[in-house]
Symmetry: C2
DNA sequence: GTCTATAGATTGATAGAC
DNA sequence: GTCTATCAATCTATAGAC
């Protein structure tokens, strides 16, 4: 087994268990057992459990942020070219759509998305700060774009509403099943694509409502 | 020290630590040390750590649910009396306002609200199921009312959007500070009251937007 | 790089005196 | 009901052979 294999197997297993059982509820033994590697290899390759979490997050979040940034900059550039402000709907889609579609990009990506969906409300600073630092730049870019798109809203109100939108999106990201409330008396959940479209409609309407 | 004192002290300390450090990251020793009671008293009074969590949640969630149910039934009764359907805005306010105002009702209530705000996305079933079971009835009542208020929306769409609204609210409940993204380049967060009003506007607009 | 073995600390839970 | 003392299991991390 080459070094690369071992590292990847550890990352994959850690991603799955951190997402499904929680960081503090996952032991290194559970990870190495699932990955079928030796216990000591985690500390050899990553140094510590905290550093392993950081590696799990960075592996997928850095590429995802690249995609989101490209999309947002694309919307801004197009608007500039046409001499009009960007629209809030386009900016939100540029941020949200790649994130949720990322779930289907690989088997582990689904676990990863629920892991970072939970990161904002994570009580432990180890997890939360690691995530926040990587997301802040793209969040600021999105906020700046939305200020141009919705100049009638005060920046403080807009920032608050954008955080509402992020909260809504995080909730969807966490839902492994398409519904938290599963009960025979309630309607069947929507399919994945309709869900994303409804999410975009929801946050767009909320963001643009008059003060 | 009477029995009642000890139980209450344990509940208060557990509430604070579960909320701020997370359930699995909080040891019984940390709880009894903060409560200034004996380690063995937790298992004497509650039986286990899991049962303690259940007690922490039930202590405040049962009264809160009573308030929310009364408010929602009040809106439904008033509408029936006037022979018109209830409004989505009134129903949402009846559910959301008591929840967020509950934070100021006692020193520990703030911690409790962030604890249950995180419960929906909690990976561990111990925490999540304990919370879900207590919240499902009030959620169904709210959903039924909203079906009357917004008959133009299909129940499946409405259920999805209501879950978006719950997700948005959960996010606000988790935020101890009024902003997750605190950064010198971003505007200052809004005060508590404006935040609640903005939250109501946001989810109301999102809920009512055309399909 | 991979392994065994283990150190060293911490955990939830309990037995038994008072 | 409260306490001390402790068990048995688990944890992260590391030392050292190969």
């Amino acid at each position: 087994m080459t070094q690369c294999d071992t590292k990847t197997r550890i990352l994959d297993s850690a991603e799955q268990l951190f997402a499904r059982e929680g960081f503090h509820n996952t032991s290194l033994r559970a990870i190495t057992s699932l990955a079928d590697v030796n216990l000591a290899s985690v500390n050899y390759h990553f140094g510590s459990k905290d550093a392993l979490l950081q590696a799990v997050i960075e592996r997928r979040l850095l590429p995802l942020n690249q995609i989101r940034e490209t999309q947002i900059r694309g919307v801004l550039a197009q608007a500039k070219e046409e001499g009009i402000p960007p629209t809030a709907a386009d900016l939100l889609r540029a941020f949200i759509e790649p994130t949720l579609e990322f779930r289907n990009s690989s088997p582990g990506a689904h676990d990863f998305i629920s892991l970072i969906g939970r990161s904002l409300s994570e009580p432990d600073e180890t997890v939360r700060n690691c995530f926040l630092a990587l997301v802040l730049p793209i969040f600021q870019l999105l906020f700046k774009g939305l200020c141009e798109a919705l100049p009638q809203l005060s920046p403080a109100i807009l920032l608050t509403r954008l955080q509402f939108a992020i909260g809504t999106m995080s909730h969807v990201m966490c839902m492994g099943s398409l519904s938290v409330f599963n009960h025979p008396e309630l309607p069947t959940p929507l399919d994945q694509n309709t869900l994303i479209q409804q999410l975009l409609k929801f946050v767009h309407a909320g963001l643009e409502t008059p003060e």
